[in-house]
Amino acid sequence: MTDITAISAEATPPQKTKLQLALRKPGFLIGTFIIGVSSLLALMPGVFAPLDPNFIDYNAVKQPPSWAHPFGTDMLGRDSLSRVIHAYSVNMQMAILATIFALIIGVVVGALVGFYRGIADMIFGRLVDAIITFPFLVLVIAVVAVLGPGLVNMYIAITLVGWVYYARLMRAEVIAQMGNDYASAGVVMGYSDSRIIFRHLLPNAITPVIVYWMTDMALAILLGSSLGYLGLGAQPPQAEWGVLIAEGRNFITTAWWLSLMPGIAIVLTGLGFSLVGDGLADLLRPRG
């Protein structure tokens, strides 16, 4: 299909209209909206939550959804909606804290081994092979077992395992970029290695990493709430979606809303991140 592909290459709109195109995509818009609202709720849950999430009312235990309690109340009479809203702080924090350090470490290590290759790259290759031989969750909960359950330890565990995936992506991208002329031009011009890596290679190689980061943030929320559910992440009485679902599990036949409502928050937020991720991927991909 030579000619058809040739046409699509010619048809690639310039950068400006690309952004406009992305903004016209409903998925990207919805995703941005969800993330925006979620961030607001996370930053000031007190403003939006109708009640104190930890206010215990033994006279209003396990009440079904009503105007007073739109998401019902839990086994201690706490307002579920307020608890779900306050959980935004923790769960949105997961999207950042469970990924950002893995991203930074991965980008630096990936860029270095990709640039210098040699023995370090060989060891890195074996390490990647070894790490991907473990199911992600198995390795993370094994590390959590070593460190002890809790949010901070969970972040450390996810970072310890997760950086490898970023590094692998970054390494491949740097090696691909090194094949381009401008990188070898830098070498000819006698630039220092660090200047070539961080000023020339990194900005060009980082695009797919950023796109992956968006998907990874969605995954981090899923993973974080899963660990909370299993009792290895956030610990009760902290309001966290996984913890809330686990708390409701024992009353699932009588008070189904306790587990159902926090799950909706997880799905919505995860959807928001993946929609933005898809939109960014379209936007940042070099060819339309």
Partner: protein, 313 residues
């Protein structure tokens, strides 16, 4: 078929990887808090007893010697005794493994049954409404944590409607299919979302490929073009993807087993972690790594038997 040489080469490549895997597991377990001797003998054991246990387990030896002991024992099939169960770790694992294997294979079959036809429908209607509906549904599915899907299915289909049992796993093959249906669907819903997404773009890519255009120009019937030219090529990328996502599949199985109280190795892993049963944690982590490697290997072999280009290299 893949040559013996290829398999041997592939196995040889796994050796350095597994040395690293053993090092990671060894270090992980050495860093577990608490004294393993205390964990085994209990809090009220005498110092002499503890010392005897340490001596027996080689805990007083230097790290390198301990690692050597770990490797040689493992190669002889000795993974130590479970503190929780008070039986050899290998026995515990082999008792639970078939259930997990059954659940995993069941889930893979279900995900292919769900994702395969829908990916075809979406790809053939690219950009039209069936494509949009299918993609949206799976996009939402991809944002659902496995434990949440499981909990919803458990609550409504098992606890409320009584269509399926709430727990247990059955004795006969048929009973197992019935008992493990909801857990498998739980894992499959998540996996099929990943497969659907990739299979759809693989099919679209193949549909646009020059050899498919050429097949059309030859005047072949449509079912032949789809069945022989498109499906075969799309199958390769699906199998590769399935193989690569085996880790995620097992992570999902682990969570699902916990939600549905299925007595497999996944739930055992969590039990071991809460009980700080370090020989069991060590054995299970190793088991998972071996399982993933075996699946990687099988994927490679399957791929090379489907793709003639890979047979020679």
């Amino acid at each position: 078929m893949a040559s013996i040489q290829y398999i041997l080469k592939r196995l040889a490549l796994m050796v350095p990887t597994f040395i690293l895997v053993m090092i990671i597991i060894f270090l992980l377990v050495r860093f577990l808090p608490g004294d393993p001797a205390v964990a085994i003998a209990g809090d009220r054991a005498s110092d002499a007893d503890l010392e005897a246990i340490r001596e027996r387990l080689g805990l007083n030896e230097p790290m390198l010697v301990q690692f050597w002991l770990f490797v040689t024992n493992t190669l002889q099939g000795d993974l130590g005794r479970s503190i929780l169960m008070r039986t050899p770790v290998t026995d515990v694992i082999f008792e639970r493994l078939p259930t997990t294997a059954f659940l995993t294979v069941y889930a893979v079959v279900l995900s292919l049954l769900i994702a395969g036809p829908l990916a075809f429908v979406a790809a053939l209607n690219r950009g039209k409404w069936p494509d949009a509906v299918i993609r949206t549904v799976f996009q939402v599915g991809l944002s659902m944590p496995v434990f949440y899907i499981g909990l919803i299915l458990l609550t409504f289909l098992a606890a409320r409607l009584h269509w399926f049992p709430v727990g247990g796993y059955g004795d006969t093959f048929g009973a197992r299919l019935y008992h493990l249906f909801l857990p498998s669907v739980t894992v499959a819903l998540y996996t099929s979302a990943i497969i659907m997404r990739n299979l759809r773009s693989a099919i679209i890519e193949v549909l646009d490929a020059e050899y498919v255009q050429f097949a059309r120009a030859k005047g072949l019937p449509n079912r032949l073009i789809l069945g022989r030219h498109v499906l075969r090529n799309a199958l390769i990328s699906t199998v590769t993807l399935l193989g690569l996502s085996i880790g995620g599949l097992m992570s999902g199985t682990l969570v699902t087993e916990t939600v549905f109280a299925v007595p497999g190795v996944g739930r055992l892993m969590l039990e071991a972690i809460f009980a700080r049963d370090y020989p069991l944690i060590q054995g299970l982590t190793l088991t998972f790594a071996v399982l993933v490697s075996v699946v990687f290997l099988l994927t490679d072999l399957f791929q090379s038997s489907l793709d003639p280009r890979m047979r020679l290299s």
